[in-house]
């Protein structure tokens, strides 16, 4: 299959700039043949790296700008000073039809705010969500929102359920994805009003998947559902708590191996397996916070991403476009809005 599409890359985003963003694109290209690239940023820094990768160079263009958004700026400051920045130009390329998607490892808040402002949301979607893939005991789960919307009413949670199930279908190839609402218990009367109302709507509307019901925090990694829906405050805390526990477990493991010469010998013998374990939990594998719900595709790569992580974020963007994610979401939302359970279709329409 050929990926006939163009990806706009904010080449200056992230901690390492073109050294990683360009190299990441070179690595991704092998898996997404036919893709073209537009790199936005300082040509004097991008061109030398691009010269190292002839296959990539052959399908790439550079749009020069010497402006970039700082990763430490508040979103409001970043937006005010965003004119002609590499990030903004990359997003505008999507708006203008010069690219199909944008990938940036820059300031998350600025990327979300600018993408929302410039690209707007899909019909039926009030707010875009940040989604990511979580490792589980079974197959990976897609979870959203991870911090774009701190407070979400029931309708927004329902829209997230549609975004997540369409993602599971078209990108993860899950036939009939299950979706769960994150809560403090699984019984009907548990939780605050928003999740209870969202649950009532989800039990009624026809989703592109199956509504499973409430799930609890431990269900995320159990792999109880294919799609975990929550508000951005809870999702952000859960994601970062999970990252913290992963690090704690690996630190405890290191201590255990160091605790005796016998244990150390054991470690040496099992080091191959430990490397595989590390790979299984490697953040780079799950890199790419996707902004779902925008009228355009935007993928955030971690600021500290390596080449592998960047390549993964680019593959994610390419597959969202290739699989027609946005078209499917718009079609499904049109169906959901026509159904009785969805209580405020007029407010749900794009402002």
């Amino acid at each position: 299959m050929t990926y006939s599409q163009t990806i706009a890359i904010d080449a200056m985003g992230g901690d390492f700039g073109p050294d990683v963003t360009v190299a990441g694109a070179a690595q991704a290209l092998a898996d997404i043949p036919g893709t073209k690239f537009l790199f936005f940023g300082d040509e004097a820094k991008i061109a030398p790296v691009l010269n190292r990768y002839p296959a990539l160079k052959a399908v790439s263009g550079i749009v020069h700008t010497d402006k970039k958004i700082s990763s430490t700026d508040k979103p409001s400051t970043a937006i005010r000073n965003s004119k002609d920045s590499s990030m903004r130009l990359a997003i505008e390329a999507v708006k203008d039809g010069k690219a199909d998607s944008v990938v940036s490892a820059g300031n998350t808040g600025a990327l979300m705010a600018l993408s929302k402002m410039i690209l707007k949301t899909l019909p039926g979607i009030e707010r875009p969500a940040i989604a990511s893939i979580m490792p589980t005991m079974g197959r990976p789960t897609v979870m959203l929102d991870l911090g774009a919307n701190l407070e979400c009413d029931a309708n927004v949670l329902v829209q997230f359920a549609v975004l997540g199930t369409v993602y599971a279908r078209v990108v993860m190839n899950i036939d009939n994805p299950t979706v769960g609402l994150l809560n403090v218990g699984t019984e009907d009367m548990k939780g605050h009003e928003e999740v209870r109302t969202a649950a009532a709507i989800l039990s009624n509307v026809k989703l592109p998947g199956t509504y499973h019901g409430f799930i609890e925090g431990n269900d995320i990694t159990k792999g109880t559902v294919n799609v975990v829906v929550t508000d951005g405050f809870t999702g952000n805390v859960a994601l970062k708590t999970a990252e913290g526990v992963g690090k704690l477990a690996s630190s405890f493991l290191k201590d255990a191996f160091k605790s005796s010469p016998l244990a150390l010998l054991g470690y040496i013998l099992s080091s191959g397996a430990m490397k595989k374990l590390k790979g299984k939990l490697d953040p780079a594998k799950y890199n790419g916070g996707m902004f779902l719900g925008l009228d355009g595709v935007a993928v955030k790569s971690h600021g500290g991403s390596n080449i592998e992580g960047t390549a993964n974020a680019i593959r994610v963007a390419a597959n969202l476009v290739h699989n027609g994610f946005n078209k499917r979401v718009a079609a499904e939302m049109a169906g959901v809005m026509g159904q009785a359970g969805f209580s405020k279709p007029s407010e749900a329409a794009q402002a």
Copy 2:
């Protein structure tokens, strides 16, 4: 030191009843000499187990009842049918001054609702919180609320900060505990209104510790602060997510060891260290969800707790009483309420 106090035990609570609740008390007794016990429940089932532990039997009484609250009942149903149940009688013993604390492995919702109804809250505390101890890279952290209050306004979050810092001081012996508010970022403008208002108050009032500022999910296990304060919805999801990731890591680790004969040999050599690691992450060690803020001490033991877990919950209750936790909270809250930053002292007073 002598623990001159009496603990009321809901002997019928939990999955195993007296076999575990009585044996747990016997194990705890060695560490809390001088403590007396009152067991509430079916005498025909309690007495034979008690006979196995003469030292415990010598300091124990049994209050017979054949009623118990089912662990699967909704709190509302449980309360309606709670009269003369082992759980309710144990709580009433605290109210009536016959015991200093109550420990139960029964229905959490019912235990919280009945404790609140019967014991009421301490002066200055509007709502009790569920607190627990979390393992971290450094010393363990106390985290609250873990599910008693799904939505918390700023004043309630401030009260939780006082409860947590007093706990860290008098039970964990931390001289000047630091307290952090769980949020989606550490900058001042991050988060929803409740956490931002709570942060403003905490920056002003004199706490029995130091207000650190906002923290993120990964700070919990990093050990950034001694006390983590959050609303019950977020805290419950974070706690259960952490438990889930711990299980996932251990499952991945098992798979890694099984992946080759060499790795398996490595496992056998390091099995002593792995056992220690397991001990470090053993939930029994951290068992005992404390209900802080009640006018009386109530500790919830996990329903599936073993003898070790039950003994730990009993030790926690004994130390809360022994160290004068409640008196100190009341004194500190009187100070906080007199300070300018705490905006609604009248509403904060106990109803």
